[in-house]
């Protein structure tokens, strides 16, 4: 049984539209929609778009990082963070999207793809709890 994954579709759309002009692109898009309709995959469209976004980002050396923190971070920290992340993931650009979460108590958490760097107070307290229980 072979199924076409959303990722495959996203890649196909990307390689089909790459380097084409507007008129050509709009023709391709119509065909893509028709294909998705025929294969009853229209409900998967948001996920396909997400994958498409990732494919384009990968190619352009860009990653998006989700930063969760208790309060808004100041610009200086964000700049430093972006710089550090560009180096760590060896990409050209890091796009930060900020999320505020009261429950984190302090510090911040960075999520990139499926990797998480958790520097929040909440996480630290959890780890301390584990440590105290296991050392007892």
């Amino acid at each position: 049984m072979t199924t076409i994954s959303n990722n495959n579709i996203a890649r196909a759309i990307h390689s089909a539209t790459k380097g084409k002009n507007d008129a050509e692109q709009s023709l391709i898009f119509t065909k893509v929609i028709q294909f998705l309709f025929r294969r009853r995959l229209l409900s998967k469209a948001p996920d396909i778009l997400l994958h498409l976004n990732k494919v384009i980002n990968d190619e352009e050396g860009r990653i998006t990082a989700k930063i969760s923190s208790k309060s808004k971070l100041d610009e200086k920290i964000k700049k430093e963070l972006a710089h550090a992340l560009t180096k760590r993931y060896s990409v050209k650009e890091v796009v930060l999207s900020e999320v505020l979460d009261e429950k984190l108590l302090g510090g911040f958490k960075v999520e990139i793809n499926d990797e998480v760097i958790d520097l929040t107070i909440k996480n630290k307290i959890g780890k301390l709890q584990e440590y105290l229980i296991s050392s007892a």
Binding site: S5, N6, N7, E111, N113, D114, E115, V116, I117, D118, L119, K124, K127, L128, Y131, L132, S135
Partner: protein, 500 residues
């Protein structure tokens, strides 16, 4: 201890605490049903790697697909929700081991369930491991004394062997295995009993029985209950063998019992179908043979150069209405080095243990039998086979020649001698004496109903009188002419007083 002291202690502990900063791989639960979770993300995860869920439940990765991984959950999955964060641990599924585990009851992931507190461990063993290679192995040559006459005499088992116990429900499969454990006292053997999807009441009974017989000092019980997740039943035997390997690595001999592998196959079938792996014969997945072969291949006897030690495996298979040609029984029969076949008919005829001597074999065990036993048991299997044939034949006619009659009578006595009560293992020396008396014809003029009484009396009497013979069996594993003469005389003496 006052409050200040506690606070001070706590302060010190907190000062010692260092948290490491590291990037963790996480995924999100996409779907959750019947103990299976489909998780997105978790790139770079390995097969059989452990993952943790937010409420502390553990899982293990079984299916790796393009964007999702299939995870089986150990424990309560009802509190896990869609969208929950799943963390990779970077560790392949492992079980904590230590010498302190002896005498304990643990679940399929090594957590104690006998209410006697935590087990202090310092090591972990991966539950999936490639079996020892050819160069590390030694052929089977040391016996496992099960204390069951019919097995030790006719279907002998050696250290490092895999001997299947197969039969219908209620034919005494577990009883046979428990007897074998009970008899290992003082035999330099560690025992691991793996209970797979068994009733908790049965497990409790077994534990109590082993406790009573003083067998828990050298036994570990690994249990995956019938009410627990199928995932636990699936890993339980591997956990058991990992614990066994820990002891084998210390150069010890280990006996492991898988009770039973048919339920293990059923648990694996459930998991596989839920993971949407294609079903094959009897709806079992395609790799069900490999499931058991990789498990049983880990039973082995290692040579001195590689540390010695052995793992002897007694897998148990339950058949339906005596059908040993079903899928799982044939698989396991072909993997193991022989089988002990138990039959309902024999059981209800009062022949217990209900071993069908004709269909039972031990493919490697005879080289592990002690010389004395080989000598007395050599003709026994043939005698019994001839007896069965003649028995069927003699029902048609009454006119039988003397030789046939003699053979029939001998057969009846042999069947009687091989009967044995549960939880009553017989020492090797006693077995040799009894079988010697039987095969040399000393029992031919004892009434069949009196055989048991005769046997009991003879073993007691000979132990006191035939000291030379007993000493030779224990030390040299074979008798000398002098010993034999002594035993013959002792048996004659005893018989005179018995028949009188």
């Amino acid at each position: 201890m006052n409050t200040n002291h506690i606070v001070e202690n706590l302060k010190r502990e907190i000062e010692n605490f260092r948290s490491q900063i590291k990037a963790e791989k996480v995924g999100r639960v996409l779907e959750i049903f019947d103990g299976i979770a489909k998780v997105s993300g978790l790139s770079d995860i390995k097969s059989s790697e452990m993952v943790t869920f937010p409420n502390g439940e553990m899982g293990v990765v079984l299916n790796l697909e393009e964007d999702v991984v299939g995870v089986i959950i150990f424990g309560d999955f009802s509190k896990i929700r869609e969208g929950d964060e799943v963390k990779a641990t970077g560790r392949i599924l492992e079980v904590p081991v230590s010498d302190n585990i002896l005498g304990r009851v643990v679940n399929a992931i090594g957590v104690p369930i006998d209410g006697q507190g935590a087990i202090k461990t310092d090591k972990s063993y991966p539950i999936e491991k490639v079996a020892p290679g050819v160069v590390t192995r030694l052929s089977v040559s040391e016996p496992v004394a099960t204390g069951i006459k019919v097995i030790d005499a006719i279907i002998p088992v050696g250290r490092g062997q895999r001997e299947l116990i197969i039969g219908d429900r209620q034919t005494g499969k577990t009883a046979l295995a428990i007897d074998a454990i009970l008899n290992q006292k003082g035999q330099n053997m560690i025992c691991v009993y793996v209970s797979i999807s068994q009733k908790d009441s049965k497990l409790r009974k077994i534990e109590a029985r082993l406790e009573e017989g003083g067998a828990m000092d050298y036994t570990v019980i690994v249990s995956a209950g019938a009410s627990e997740a199928a995932a636990l039943s699936y890993v339980a035997p591997y956990t058991g063998v990992a614990i066994a390997e820990y002891f084998m690595d210390q150069g010890k001999d280990v006996l492991i019992i898988y009770d039973d592998l048919s339920k293990h196959a059923v648990a694996y079938r459930e998991i596989s179908l839920l993971l949407r792996r294609p079903p094959g014969r009897e709806a079992y997945p395609g790799d069900v043979f490999y499931l058991h072969s990789r498990l049983l291949e880990r039973a082995c006897r290692r040579n001195e150069k590689y540390g010695g030690g052995s793992i002897t495996a007694f897998p148990i298979i339950e058949t339906q209405a005596g059908d040993i040609t079903a899928y799982i029984p044939t698989n396991v029969i072909s993997i193991t080095d022989g089988q002990i076949f138990l039959e309902t008919d024999l059981f209800y005829k009062g022949i217990r243990p209900a071993v069908n001597v004709g269909s039972s074999v031990s493919r490697v065990g005879s080289s592990a039998q002690i010389k004395a036993m080989k000598k007395v048991a050599g003709t026994l299997k043939l005698d019994l086979a001839q007896f069965r044939e003649l028995e069927a034949f003699s029902q048609f006619g009454s006119d039988l020649d003397d030789a046939t009659k003699r053979q029939l009578e001998r057969g009846k006595r042999a069947v009687e001698v091989l009967k044995q009560l549960q939880y009553a293992p017989v020492r090797m020396e006693h077995q040799v004496v009894t079988l010697y008396a039987l095969t040399k014809g000393f029992m031919d003029d004892v009434a069949v109903e009196k055989i048991k009484e005769f046997e009991q009396g003879l073993t007691d009497y000979s132990e006191r009188q035939a000291k030379v013979f007993y000493k030779e069996i224990v030390e040299k594993k074979m008798w000398s002419e002098k010993g034999e003469e002594e035993l013959k005389k002792v048996i004659e003496d005893f018989k005179k007083s018995f028949i009188k």
